[in-house]
């Protein structure tokens, strides 16, 4: 017995040790990965981010070096603090603050002392930095916008957030990623692939040398340059015209679906979101909940389209063979059902056939056509579905599929929509005649409207709108080069196009015609409401205009939308005509029209709902005349503040 005690204790301890080893090494262990090993430092080598060019090859976005002042707290020797603070334009308190924060993080590791100096500051500091032991300058690459326009198109880059880091292993804390616009859409193309270098560290986090002589290291792959479809001159002109207005412009080349201008107003200078001031400026832009400069109205603003939608009613009527171009409808300042007036109308000749119906934008005419479409079928829901399918074939009611990451679906009601609302079969076409004139439950975004016009100008098809023109050495997605056909036969388009042409020749946009250019257009006015102190209050109508030109072989299709601009030709129509002339002719001959736009502001109108006072709308709103604005007029409050370093 006495012999067994030590023997069994040894055997027992041996077993316990092996069990413990098994638990630690086999049972409890995640598969080993070099990337997760905190004994190995991973140093990333960031490639050059791709440049962005406009459709004419003009460089819009490049890169600029930026300089971080770095320091290693433990290596800092006593120094002339005051002089360094003056050089860096910081206070002594800041200095002590930064130093102590970094020291707490690690006395041995480099920390950023002052991030992102400009070239100017760097030049001054460069010669003197060696006087300060422990400090050095590290170069980084930032975006350099060669332009002040197109913030909503180009977007910006910023540090990745935690959500992305957790979900995409490519990104590490501190990496930059496209946040908006094409920077976001083409992030993977522009960023390239970063290289990685593995370095063995010791327990004090110091580097001891390359891990396994660098056999796992990779070289960075530079990002690709891209060309976008924007015409920067037209874009700039559009942004100029939209100053002091809220709204959006989308211009599309119908023969390709390329977006040649995409204006959202108010906008901001993209340079505001570069480097050191980015977060401060972003917060300011983000907090401006009245002007909402970060809200891209050209892609996201969803409103009833108003009268431009009437041309669809005409097309569907012809396709469904419920109306001919010769059929006439009378209008008694509105559409009457028995003695009840369902919708009003303005003064014009009566009765009207299709051509003048479009040119004069007669509400009664289109309500008649709409009712015939719906009533053609036994059940209203059936008719509604047919109508809805035709409308949707123009790219309305759903995401268009363009290559920018934001947007709205819009809304195109179908039979089920009203069945749910009123009960099955408990409604008829008279319940929703407003849809005929784009005012009922129909809602669209500016880009959807522009695309609809492009489809009409092409007489029955459209290319999915897109912002990418070419990627260095790569084909663009096939989706953008395949036509989408509408459900309307080609021959029905000609009379409708003629009607839109006559909008300019004696119709509602007569005053907007541009000599020498055959423009087809359609005015629109949309009622809109806002909740003020919990009360639904009507505001001045939105001014809407769609157009394309020339009438044959169209080069540009455009949708303009100006918040609270009142009737269609007042603001939106003028802007559309000027944009078309600028694009087709390359210069402006309509100087009076241009002057009018550049001297009229809507800022007063936008201030009304926030004034807290009673206010009048539409007819009771006065035009606000301002000094003529030019390209150099600074309108953005953020950009008027001088940068501390420029």
């Amino acid at each position: 017995m006495r012999k067994l005690l030590l023997l069994s204790t040894i055997a027992f301890v041996g077993l316990v040790f092996i069990a413990r080893l098994f638990y630690l090494q086999v049972y409890n262990e995640d598969p080993y990965s070099l990337l997760d090993d905190n004994a190995i430092r991973k140093v990333y080598d960031y490639p050059k981010r791709g440049y962005i060019y406009d459709r004419n090859g003009k460089l819009l976005v490049a890169n600029q070096p930026s300089y971080d002042v770095m320091f290693i707290p433990r290596e800092v020797k006593p120094l002339d603090t005051l002089e360094l603070c003056n050089l860096l334009k910081i206070t002594k308190e800041d200095f002590i603050n930064f130093y102590e924060k970094a020291y707490r993080y690690s006395p041995r590791l480099p920390s950023v002392f002052i991030p992102q100096l400009s070239r100017m500051e760097y030049a001054v500091l460069q010669e003197k930095i060696r006087k300060y032991e422990g400090f050095y300058i590290q170069k980084r690459s930032l975006r350099d916008y060669q332009t002040t326009i197109g913030a909503n198109v180009l977007g910006d880059i910023g540090e990745v957030n935690n959500y992305i880091i957790e979900n995409d292993p490519y990104y590490k804390s501190g990496d930059l990623i496209g946040k908006q616009g094409v920077e976001l859409s083409y992030e993977e193309v522009l960023r390239g692939v970063k290289g990685i270098k593995f370095t063995q560290k010791d327990r004090f986090n110091r580097d001891i040398g390359p891990y396994k002589d660098g056999i796992y290291d990779t070289l960075p792959e530079p990002g690709k340059d891209i060309t976008i479809t924007i015409d920067s001159e037209l874009q700039e002109y559009g942004e100029l015209l939209m100053r002091h207005k809220h709204g959006g412009i989308i211009a599309i080349e119908p023969s390709s679906g390329e977006i040649i201008a995409m204006v959202s107003a108010p906008s901001y200078n993209p340079n505001l979101l570069v480097g050191r001031q980015r977060s401060r400026n972003f917060t300011k832009l983000y907090n401006d909940t009245i002007a909402k400069p970060l809200f891209d109205r050209s892609l996201k603003a969803q409103y009833p389209p108003g009268s431009p939608f009437k041309v669809l009613s005409a097309l569907i009527g012809l396709q469904e063979k419920v109306v001919t171009t010769q059929d006439q409808f009378s209008c008694r300042h509105g559409y009457y059902l028995g003695n009840r007036r369902l919708t009003g109308c303005h003064s014009h000749a009566s009765p009207l056939s299709m051509n003048q119906g479009i040119a004069q934008s007669c509400n009664a005419y289109f309500v008649n056509v709409y009712r015939r479409i719906i009533d053609k079928y036994a059940k209203p829901a059936e008719g509604m579905d047919v109508w809805s399918n035709h409308v949707k074939s123009f790219g309305l009611g759903d995401y268009l599929g363009y290559d920018l990451k934001i947007g709205n679906k819009g809304r195109v009601p179908d039979g089920a929509f009203y069945d749910k609302w009123y009960g099955e079969n408990r409604w008829s076409s008279t319940y929703n005649i407003s849809n005929a004139i784009g005012q009922g439950e129909v809602e669209t975004t500016p880009i959807q409207l522009a695309n609809m016009v492009a489809a009409i100008s092409n007489r029955g098809f459209y290319y999915t709108p897109h912002i990418i023109k070419s990627i260095e050495g790569e084909e663009i997605d096939e989706k953008y080069t395949t036509p989408n056909y509408t459900t309307i036969d080609k021959e029905h388009f000609e009379p409708v196009v003629q009607g839109m042409f006559d909008v300019y020749n004696g119709g509602t946009a007569y005053s907007l015609r541009v000599p020498g250019i055959d423009i087809c257009g359609k005015t629109g006015t949309a009622e809109n409401f806002m909740r003020i102190d919990g009360k639904r209050t009507q505001l001045t109508d939105h001014s809407i205009f769609v157009a394309f030109a020339p009438k044959d072989n169209p080069k540009i299709a455009i949708a303009v939308f100006v918040e609270n601009g009142y009737w269609g030709s007042r603001f939106a129509g003028r802007i559309a005509s000027l944009m078309i002339e600028k694009y087709i002719r390359g210069e402006i001959t309509m100087t009076a029209m241009e002057n009018w736009i550049l001297t009229h502001s809507l800022e007063d109108e936008y201030a009304k709902p926030y004034s807290g006072k009673e206010f009048g709308i539409n007819r009771q709103s006065a035009l606000q005349v301002i000094d003529k604005i030019t390209k150099d007029t600074v309108v953005n409050p953020l950009s008027t503040r001088p940068s501390p370093f420029k």
Binding site: L6, F17, E29, P31, Y32, A39, R203, K212
Partner: protein, 425 residues
């Protein structure tokens, strides 16, 4: 006739296990202590180079030990013990203080740690005393005398502030037990450990309750002839006193770092913030060592490929924490092999000890097995977080000349004694 075989009579299995451990140990020391290129295996700027020299010197020691007559060790056991005690006493005058322990002689750039050598000296003296015909280990008087042989060096070492090396002397309990110490001491020892753990982990009340259940359970159901009730009550009162004593000892006598080690071992700290802070400070070594071992996985990262070893994340890795290198670079397979090698060596020594005809050889063999086992238990247990941190080397594995030589002498005296077992005296 058998005299002719004297030269070949050694237990080659023991020697082979010894060589495997020393060789594998050296590889791991190299891995844990190199910095970049290994230019020479005898590079005296690095521990692995010095260890190479230590190992070569070891072979001279082995030859010397095996060349001496087996009788020499028994005859001179007392003198060796006496010299060893003198060397420990000398430390108080000539010793060099390293990390707070006055445990080293510094001789021309070399350091020697006499407490390492005291282990085999004590073993020899103990074997000699127990094997004396006058000695009867079943008597209390002789037990006390034998204990005195152990306590003397242990106290000297403790006074030099080297508590780790002192703990090792508890290993001789196994020898006492084998040679006749009453069973009641084993029961008391186990009972005391249980009482201490319960009192510290929970509280005195729990410890006393458990003790009461065991004592009265034994009193009423465990014995055929029941003694007077006064006996279990007296034992229980003693238990209460001991439990309070342990609590007092823990709170007031132990030094802070010793207290912390016990608190970590028993997982007494539950505040996550405090625990996090501990991981950065007193738990740092253990934490890094466990991480290194875990990261080895089944097969390890390969010789000289351990990232945490190369980065020197585990302090003292080539000495007390050498086993974490094995864990990281050789994985579960390699570390389990090392454990098995040790178990095999220990069992082999035990087996041989039981075969000895002379009591001196048997007791000495038992001392060797017990001492090696204690180092194995405490060192590997500590590196894996099973035992409170006690800084003692892993025999044959850890870097260091004194320890390597002392363990070699300890082992090879037994190899020599064993080779002589079938010879006539």
């Amino acid at each position: 006739m058998q005299r002719d075989f004297r030269g070949l009579n050694f237990d080659w299995i023991t020697i082979a296990l010894f060589l495997l451990l020393v060789g594998f140990g050296w590889l791991n020391i190299m891995s844990a202590s190199h910095s970049g290129e290994v230019t020479s295996y005898f590079d005296m700027n690095h521990p692995y180079g010095k260890q190479s020299v230590f190992i070569i010197f070891t072979f001279f020691l082995i030859i010397l030990i095996l060349a001496l007559d087996a009788k020499f060790y028994e005859r001179f056991a007392s003198i060796i013990y006496f010299i060893s005690i003198l060397s420990l006493l000398g430390l108080f005058v000539f010793g060099k203080n390293v990390n707070g322990a006055l445990a080293w002689y510094s001789i021309g750039g070399m350091t020697l740690q006499p407490s390492e050598f005291a282990k085999f000296a004590t073993s020899l003296a103990l074997a000699k005393y127990i094997s004396d015909l006058q000695t009867n280990m079943k008597t209390f008087k002789d037990q006390i005398k034998a204990a005195g042989i152990i306590v003397l060096p242990a106290v000297l070492i403790l006074l030099q502030n080297d508590a780790g090396s002192t703990v090792v002397y508890a290993a001789f309990f196994f020898v006492f037990y084998r040679e006749g110490l009453q069973q009641i001491y084993l029961v008391i020892a186990v009972f005391l450990i249980l009482l201490a753990v319960l009192a510290l982990k929970f509280n005195v009340v729990v410890a006393v309750l458990v003790a009461a259940v065991l004592i009265f359970g034994h009193h009423f159901f465990g014995q055929r002839k029941r003694p007077q009730i006064i006996q279990p009550i007296a034992i229980l009162l003693a238990c209460i006193a001991v439990a309070f004593g342990i609590k007092y000892f823990y709170n007031n006598i132990l030094q802070f770092h010793q207290k912390d080690r016990i608190s970590i071992w028993l997982r007494l700290e539950s505040d996550p913030d405090k625990l996090h802070e501990m991981k950065q400070t007193i738990l740092y070594n253990l934490n890094e060592s466990e991480k290194a071992i875990s990261s080895g996985g089944l097969t390890g990262k390969g010789f000289m490929q351990g990232t945490r070893t190369t980065g020197k994340f585990v302090p003292e890795q080539h000495t007390d924490y050498i086993f974490s290198t094995v864990g990281e670079e050789w994985g579960f397979l390699g570390s389990a092999l090392v454990v098995l090698l040790f178990v095999a060596l220990l069992l082999r020594i035990l087996y041989l000890a039981e075969l000895q005809k002379s009591q001196f050889s048997r007791v000495y063999g038992y001392c060797v097995a017990s001492l090696l086992f204690f180092h194995f238990l405490i060192n590997i247990g500590m590196v894996m977080g099973l035992i409170p941190t006690i800084g003692i080397p892993l025999p044959f594995f850890s870097y260091g000349g004194s320890a390597l030589w002392a363990f070699t002498i300890l082992l090879f005296i037994f190899v020599k004694l064993d080779s002589n077992r079938i010879n006539e005296w």
